[in-house]
């Protein structure tokens, strides 16, 4: 176990390094000069040159990257070009919101996806099965922007059940989390359905039935628990992707999360902020995957890391 953990951590570090290298190279390959964006329209060539050297942009790309990495290792992500504030402050101001939306989104995904997938599997090839799968398909393919506006219009604007976007109380998180749940729930339903179908035909399920256990007990204790394995890795992935920010849902619901920050930064090529968001989301994805892997043995004693 210990050896496995060390290997995985080492892999994670390599992945993180790779992500920063690629993003850095891509951003600086853009035909946009950050110094000129900062200097503005009335700036003379002198001013632009001065700002460029102040930011270290006159150095070669490897040198710039090495400097960036050196600062990164000391926890310094630099200052936002546009907002003139530490990137760590910007990220910190958005972490809590991102975290709550992640929790809420995953909760709704499970709440919607698991029962739907189980039902579908147990009533295989019935009208119930096909309508659940159709529903899952619609949920996955509906554009989140439209779903979000639809929810806001009816549940918040017309019926006044929820606030019209924003952040602060538990009531604020329900709609954006539900919007995430609709899309993700569709995936979960499909995965859960096929996992259940797999498991139901296994010997141990037959054995459980033969022991004379009640059907609900067979399903819940023996089938579902084993069918949850792929779901767990999906949750792991979702922890990562949601912590990296969900751009569309956050924008529609005025949710002050990391995705919104990323979207604004991309539009104005605010490189330090984009890099900061990438580092945070890469870290989140790596961590989420690691958590999922560590959860396997706990769910399925057959799995063991040596």
């Amino acid at each position: 176990m210990g050896g496995y953990l060390i290997r995985r951590l080492a892999q994670s570090v390599v992945i993180l390094l790779g992500v920063t290298v690629i993003t850095f190279a891509l951003l600086y390959a853009l035909p946009a000069d950050p110094a000129r964006m900062i200097a503005g329209r009335s700036a003379t060539a002198d001013t632009v040159a001065r700002i460029r050297s102040e930011l270290g942009l006159d150095q070669s790309l490897p040198v710039q990257y090495a400097r960036y990495l050196g600062r990164l290792l000391r926890g310094n992500l630099g200052r936002s070009y546009a907002q003139k504030i530490e990137v760590t402050d910007l990220l910190r101001s958005r972490l809590a919101a991102t975290f709550w939306l992640m929790l809420g989104g995953i909760a709704f995904e499970l709440l919607i996806g698991l029962p739907a997938g189980m039902l579908s599997a147990l009533r295989r090839r019935s009208a119930v099965d096909s309508s659940v799968m159709l529903g899952a398909f619609l949920g996955v393919s509906a554009p989140q922007f439209v779903v979000g506006l639809f929810l806001l219009y009816w549940l918040a604007y017309r019926w006044g059940l929820f606030p019209l976007g924003g952040y602060g109380t538990p009531a604020h998180v329900i709609l954006p989390a539900f919007a995430l749940g609709i899309a993700g729930g569709g995936w979960y339903a499909r995965v859960m359905r096929s996992a259940m179908l797999d498991v139901i035909n296994q010997d141990y399920v037959r054995t459980a039935r033969a022991k004379g256990l009640s059907e609900p007990r067979v399903i819940l204790r023996h089938a579902v628990r084993n069918a949850l394995l792929p779901v767990v890795s999906m949750v792991g992935l979702d922890i990562g992707t949601f912590m990296g920010g969900v751009v569309v849902v956050e924008s529609v619901f005025s949710w002050p999360g990391i995705g919104q920050l990323a979207w604004q930064a991309i539009q104005i090529v605010d490189i330090p902020v984009i890099m900061g968001v990438v580092v945070v989301s890469a870290l989140a994805i790596v961590t989420g995957n690691l958590l999922a892997d560590l959860a396997y043995p706990w769910l399925d004693p057959k799995i063991r890391y040596g």
């Binding site: 001013t47 529903g135 604007y157």
Partner: protein, 539 residues
């Protein structure tokens, strides 16, 4: 599907549980106003802030020597009580008002005016506005580090500031009204360091009460403001990160008062045809021209006949229909609100036959191929397509390159790269209401170097000389003659046809019925979206 409905039932149940305890989501605001923005508010440091959003907010926290009468482009002394201009236009003497206090209680003095300007000019500040002050004597020596102070700024006593210019500039008073010249207290800057932009302390009508990054900025009334009775409001709340369509719903629910990003395009027609909603929209002009630059250094646009032919080929009315008639056609460089705008000038009339004839004369009877750059945010690609179609009608095949804003700016500013650029969505907004602001940065010979905003790469030394003469006409009794001169200048520019002026956008500011004050405040040419110090609740 049953499970789905159960999910929904749980959701509604939860909502019902929450709603009795939930507030009415902010309808009770007292004497406060709420403004929504899609994007975060960036720095509020007057030396640095340079986008349309923070520009007006900075104006409500800080003050400059000069300002404008609310709702107009008329200059008035502000922190200055009075000023005099020497006969040669090179010396400006400002007398400060006494007893004006910074938010920290200290009096504003002449030394603060000088300190603030030198701070903007200091390369360490990285101010995007430093270039506006190049006409003050000694600025170059100061920014090059050869002088410790700017020799052209003198403070003979506590309440007097004297500026000496190396070259007369009729727009100097406008430049003194720019945020970059606003007065800041040295001690607070030393205290906050680089974070001053997020902990601003000025002398203005409002103070910062609370700033939650990514969520809201709250300004509170400065009860010691030097203009009695201002501001009217106790508080202004800026909600950021609000999607414009959602903001629109919030406004109809009475939760917010001003749509900072305007009416969402998809709702515009509905709003303007709705008798009730229509009354909530203030319509006005703005200091804006949308144009296509024709690169005068790229073949075949080196030939003025080709540039004129392009000017005749574009159907501006059709383009305006694309943006729901939110503009009026443009025939010249300056917008109608700008002094020097030429009411008589008709420009190039839409005439495909004449355009083709001109092209044939220039040696292109069958047209040619070229490239049109445009920003990739709506409605700009649609506008660019309309222009592309119009050009095709005279045989000019323009390939479209719709790209991110920064990429287009880079292409436009690179010599010989972009033949045609559509200016929409490029953050171009007038800095101050003087006709020379449309010349120096975007049409002058002196702006021609890598990274220029003169994307037509236009240079006419004769015109440049006339602009210099016009800018030397600094006395107030010369204003009319100067305007006439500018009309002549811009007629000459249009003869050279470096641009295809397309339209002047109108501004539509949507606000709740509880907001009041003269209608001009909702379309103030300087303050966008509204004049924060002057707006008030309906009595």
């Amino acid at each position: 599907m049953r499970q789905r409905w159960m999910g929904l039932a749980v959701l509604v149940g939860l909502a019902l549980l929450v709603s009795p305890v939930a507030p009415t989501w902010g309808q009770n605001r007292g004497n406060a106003m709420t403004v929504t923005f899609k994007d975060d508010i960036s720095t509020l440091d007057p030396a640095i802030g340079y986008d349309w959003q923070n520009w007006s907010i900075i104006k409500s926290i800080f003050d400059g020597l000069m300002d404008y009468e609310p709702g107009t482009t008329t200059l008035v002394p502000h922190l200055a009580e009075s000023f005099t201009v020497s006969p040669d236009g090179k010396t400006y003497t400002f007398k400060l008002r006494r007893g004006v206090k910074f938010h920290n209680g200290r009096e504003v003095t002449a030394a603060d005016v000088r300190y603030s300007l030198e701070r903007t000019l200091n390369p360490k500040t990285q101010s995007p506005g430093a270039g506006f002050f190049g006409d003050i004597a000694g600025v170059k020596e100061f920014t090059d580090g050869k002088a410790k102070e700017v020799s052209g700024v003198k403070i003979p006593d506590k309440y007097t500031v004297v500026f000496t210019l190396s070259k007369a500039n009729a727009a100097f008073l406008h430049i003194m009204a720019l945020n970059f010249a606003y007065v800041v207290p040295k001690e607070e800057i030393e205290k906050a360091g680089a974070d001053f932009g997020h902990k601003p302390v000025g002398s203005g009508a409002y103070k910062v009460k609370e700033w939650v990054l990514g969520q809201r900025l709250v300004l509170v009334r400065n009860s010691d403001y030097f203009i009695k009775g201002r501001p009217y409001l106790d508080e202004i709340v800026f909600q950021v990160g609000v999607e414009p369509n959602v903001a629109f719903l919030k406004l109809q629910r009475g939760e917010v008062d001003i749509l900072g990003d305007g009416v969402p395009p998809a709702e515009f027609t509905k709003v303007m045809n709705d008798t009730k909603l229509r009354t909530l929209v203030a319509v006005g002009d703005q200091l804006q021209t949308g144009y296509v630059t024709i690169n005068t250094q790229v073949k075949p646009f080196t030939d003025v006949r080709v540039r004129r032919a392009l000017n005749m080929a574009v159907d501006k009315q059709r383009i305006i229909r694309i943006i729901n008639n939110r503009a009026v056609p443009a025939v010249q460089v300056l917008p109608p609100l700008m002094p020097g705008y030429d009411k008589e000038y008709k420009g190039y009339v839409f005439d495909v036959v004449q355009a083709k004839k001109l092209l044939a004369e220039a040696g292109y009877p069958n047209g040619f191929s070229t490239v049109l750059y445009a920003n990739n945010t709506d409605p700009n690609p649609r506008i660019a397509q309309a222009i592309q179609q119009d050009l095709a009608a005279i045989g000019v095949k323009a390939e479209l390159k719709t790209l991110a804003q920064s990429t287009v700016i880079e292409a436009g500013g690179t010599k010989g790269q972009a033949p045609l650029v559509w200016s929409g969505g490029m953050a171009w907004i007038a800095d101050y209401p003087d006709p020379n602001d449309f010349y120096w940065p975007i049409l002058s010979c002196s702006s021609l170097s890598q990274g220029t905003w003169n994307w037509a790469w236009y240079c006419n030394p004769r015109v440049e000389k006339m602009v210099e003469e016009a800018d030397a006409m600094v006395q107030s009794n010369q204003a009319a003659a100067r305007d006439a001169k500018y009309r002549e200048i811009y007629r000459l520019v249009m003869q050279d046809a470096p641009w295809i002026p397309i339209f002047h956008e109108k501004r539509y500011t949507m606000h709740t019925a509880r907001m009041g004050g003269p209608p001009g405040l909702f379309n103030d040419p300087i303050h966008i979206p509204v004049h924060y110090t002057e707006v008030r609740l309906v009595q």
